[in-house]
Symmetry: C2
Subunit: 620 residues, 2 copies
């Protein structure tokens, strides 16, 4: 079957995105007509019902044929930029003069609402910069949004803005019935190969409805039985609900045999490609299927306490560079902070308009667009491992896209450096406080805060292995030592003991740290042991992974009988009661940061070895 | 003194914003030269040090003369749009043909980084739409951002984009030394009264530095002693560090007497205005000084259990409309969801280009810009109470601005409706899960989730009273009953008992709910009492306010001895361990939502009376 996602050919299909769930019912209907098994007539009838394949906004994880999850406005157009980037990259990297093995378009429909969102401008500015010639956007210019006529809030010239962004712009004046105009516009768009094209299609919302067309009342609400009847009459549509007239069925059903022919042709082409270019074919297959060469994890570095200390952002760069050769689908970059986030892949150049085969992506200062573009890349093919980076605090700028990664099972790696007051002088606007807690509360995302080299490598290992879960790595700006007891395997458990001088699973006190504060916990542990205490020091690098462990394992790390627990983390204490219990103590920061050298802020805020010792003595 | 924020004249000053802390040292130096007591020479020397008035990014709450907190890119230009909106609104509302009591410009400098951010495009599109003629933006076109030449990620035509957004655009080609060109551009900008103006000023970053100018190395790092010396030489600047030459001092010191003259003039004008237009003068004074008419709180409605049930989003609209006449500075609106968020002030029209005296603001689908514009309005004058609205889940789109509200002590009211799976069919992209937790972890913001009419009114009372704290109101789409025991006064405590049949502060079990789930807790309480239990039902409408209460009060609501506690909230359970303790049970949702009728999702997710009863029986 053509529409089999396990079929390699599937990856070379054109992509079609309805930004913001624009006309979701239309999309379901088209999938149905085109022969997708995923949307049968009964599915259409279950629109927006519990357990249906036709939810209120299209979601890639619910319905085969839905490329991306686009409910929130502006995500879809940015996803489409990511899909088109993926195609341009793969085509440049794998096509040969005698074999164009990658070749498809990305289509997207977006409305006035999407056009107003900043994320759309960010992504479209990049699409113009990158010259994504095979991206074709239809702007449904119907002049109506939820609050009524767009005149009340949206009077800019969208055409001119897109021209300024480097797009080719076409205007179809009669979008309601001007089919030939639309066809001609698509042909013209395909001929413009160095720029993305926006086809502004002026339409009437609710076209055909005699009393409700051109009004906001048709935006999110059903027409109602009476108006449906009037509309059918007005459009001359005499058929029963859900009946597909023979003529229409015939027209659409040709897609299945046509697809089968295309598939056979592509399969033959790929077989030939494979025999001529085995190395490239293997890499491409890895990206298409999402399987990496056996033993790829061995590429990750390991460290001992004797290894020189380093900032985890630097250790992260070592990991990225170690992974790039063994994970062919790894590509990404930063929102104008590559030299701070340490994200450059040293063996590769920049993905640019004329060098799209390269793997360093320069996103500019466009965090939200960056996240959504990475979602598009991740969902293009299961072997893509896109990563993107900024300062951890600026996840606030891209949270809309990060949540969609989590919801839509998109493996994006968020490389988030400068993860605490430890960044120092840039001050409170740049210092995350509540961010760790805020992501620990989000479903289906791994919030990892490695403490040193081994934990950074372990975090990358998990991030790549978790195929349907995005990860955030919170990384330090400042240098950290490699601690005794940390390990790649430990990270997999989420929380684990790094040092312990107790016996019988009965320490006097358990000290728990994450990231840069694990060092503080370890030092306090040393001091307390000198004073005769039995102390366990636990790294709590990823709460979500610890939560997945067996009760036995959890008890072995945090025995219920030991209520003397102290946690330390340079962030909000919100949520830590779960770990330290009502008799324990959470040391953290429940106010905003400050501009000063990092050491001074740590001291003033009480994130110190002394504070841990004092707390440990008070609880044990 | 002119520069006294307690002086009414102060409010009519021109506003000057450096977006993203652009040239923060320059701003401190200018404040110093202009005679601001807030920045003395020793403050300049303490740049980026603990406790200084000159932090790494300028912050309004640290330094008098800094209008807004602009560290994160793009916030400043959007704040400036808010400041200019405030001026246009006040001028239209209060100026009389014989007295122009409000009349000032808003200036902003922004760089390439700000221009790339989506928030900047959102805010600038609105500025063009509103025709903010007294907003003058200088675009520091230096072609360098942190990653190097902007050519790598930013090749759009900014001029053309701004023209498309409805701005007047001027290009100053020699921004390094073309002082006359710059002066002429400002004069031209002032003459264009129906459009904001962007003056593109092409400059060389690090101008004057012989070896580092025009390079990213001068972006965030100091030049170093050697290069400073070379630069001084190159620019012919023979003075000692921090020495202000007499000629410069003379030039700048005139601002103090000139300001005093302007102040005297304005004071006389205002005295005359007051005698002629006492009503308007009183309203304007309220906005300037932030004091509301005595007894304003009485305008808020109260309810009894017999009052008809309603969605809290509708009750919110009742409160907004009740407050508008007694809080003259209340104005705001929604990001294209006014009829869903229920934010329209019925006695007022739309703030638009030609009707700027009105108080309903139409933000379009621009959440991030909306939040930052409201920050600008709030920080324009202490009596402004801007509110803005979208679906609660889309706080993800505007979290950057919300955090700046909290950090910069800006009283913005965030009206966030559709606050849970209770919104039903729109599905998981629209259903908040982790959002309550994520804001409870953020410093200096009140996360309020009222359960009914009294609690909605109480939430508004607190939101208006807390002059230096923004508030988020999470409001239901669905109808809720007015519950026995809720009160405006209760909300002030954050958590309080609504019903209780126990004696001696020893209930068998405490049931805790928020918002739409307080009804479920109350019903479960009734059932458990029928079965003979002593049950306390507690509303936990605002964690932050409860945290502020005395230990005695806390103990009276949640006695330490009563460990049998059950919480219910249609959101993440993250953080609830603190309230229910390790022996209690938190009922909530730790996965994404679903598209279906709301009742069905509640049932499938176990957010039910039966679940509370079962949990209560298991813990007590």
């Amino acid at each position: 079957m053509r529409y089999n996602p396990k079929n390699p050919f599937w990856f070379n299909r054109d992509r079609f995105v309805l930004s913001a769930g624009h006309g979701c019912m239309l999309q379901y209907a088209l999938l149905h007509l085109a022969g997708y098994d995923s949307v049968k007539e009964e599915d259409l009838k279950q629109f927006r019902q519990w357990g249906s394949k036709t939810p209120g906004h299209p979601e890639n994880f619910e319905t085969i044929g839905i490329e991306v999850t686009t409910g929130p406005l502006g995500q879809g157009i940015a996803n489409a930029v990511g899909l088109a980037l993926a195609e341009k990259h793969l085509a440049a990297r794998f096509n040969k003069p005698d074999s164009e093995i990658v070749d498809h378009y990305t289509y997207v429909i977006l409305g006035d609402g999407c056009q107003m969102e900043g994320i759309a401008n960010e992504a479209c500015s990049l699409a113009g910069h990158w010259g994504l010639g095979k991206l074709i956007a239809f702007y449904d210019d119907n002049h109506i949004s939820i609050d009524g006529d767009t005149e009340i809030a949206f009077t800019e010239s969208v055409d001119k803005r897109f021209e300024a962004l480097g797009w080719h712009v076409i205007w179809v004046k009669n979008g309601n019935t001007g089919y030939d105009e639309i066809r001609a516009a698509i042909e013209e768009a395909k001929k413009v190969k160095d720029k993305p094209t926006m086809i502004k299609v002026t339409t009437t919302i609710g076209f055909g409805s005699p009393n409700k067309s051109n009004s906001y009342s048709v935006h999110g609400a059903a027409l109602g039985a009476k108006e449906v009847e009037a509309t059918r009459k007005n459009l001359g549509w005499p058929y029963e609900p859900f009946h597909v007239p023979e003529e229409v069925e015939k027209h659409w059903s040709r897609h299945v045999p046509e697809g089968a022919a295309l598939e056979a042709e592509w399969n033959a082409k790929f077989a030939e490609y494979k025999s001529k270019y085995p190395t490239e074919a293997a890499e491409l297959k890895s990206i298409i299927e999402g399987e990496f060469p056996a033993g790829w994890e061995k590429a990750l570095p390991t460290y001992t306490p004797e290894s020189p200390g380093d900032a985890t952002r630097n250790l992260s760069q070592t990991c990225l560079n170690a992974l790039a050769p063994v994970v062919p689908g790894l590509l990404g970059g930063s929102a104008d902070l590559a030299s701070s986030n340490m994200t450059l892949l040293k063996s590769f150049g920049d993905f640019q308009k004329d060098t799209p085969e390269e793997r360093n992506v320069r996103f500019g200062v466009r965090e939200h667009g960056m996240g959504a573009i990475c979602n598009g890349i991740a969902l293009h093919s299961p072997g893509f491992v896109p990563y993107c980076a900024t300062f951890f605090v600026f996840t606030d700028y891209m949270r809309g896209a990060i949540r969609i990664s989590a919801l839509s099972l998109a493996r994006v790696i968020y490389v988030m450096t400068h993860d605490s007051i430890g960044l120092g002088e840039d001050g409170p606007t740049h210092q995350p406080i509540e961010h760790l807690a805020s992501f620990r509360a989000m479903p289906n995302i791994l919030m990892m805060r490695p403490a040193d080299g081994n934990e950074t490598a372990g975090s990358y290992r998990v991030a790549v292995l978790k195929k349907q879960t995005p990860s955030i790595l919170a990384l330090s700006r400042q240098k950290l030592p490699n601690l005794p007891g940390t390990s790649i395997e430990g990270v997999e458990k989420g929380g684990y003991t790094i040092t312990d001088n107790s016996t019988g699973n009965k320490p006097d006190v358990i000290l728990i740290g994450t990231g840069s504060e694990l060092e503080i916990a370890a030092k306090a542990g040393d001091e307390l042991r000198k004073a005769g205490k039995a102390v366990r020091v636990v790294s709590f690098v990823c709460w979500e992974l610890f939560e997945e462990q067996s009760d036995e394992y959890k008890e072995s790390v945090l025995p219920a009988a030991v209520t003397a627990r102290v946690s330390i983390e340079a962030g909000s204490t919100f949520g830590w009661e779960k770990i330290v219990g009502s008799k324990g103590k959470a040391i953290g920061i429940d106010r905003f940061g400050a501009s000063a050298p990092a050491g001074r802020i740590y001291k003033e805020y009480g994130i110190t070895v002394e504070a841990v010792i004092e707390a440990a003595n008070s609880v044990s």
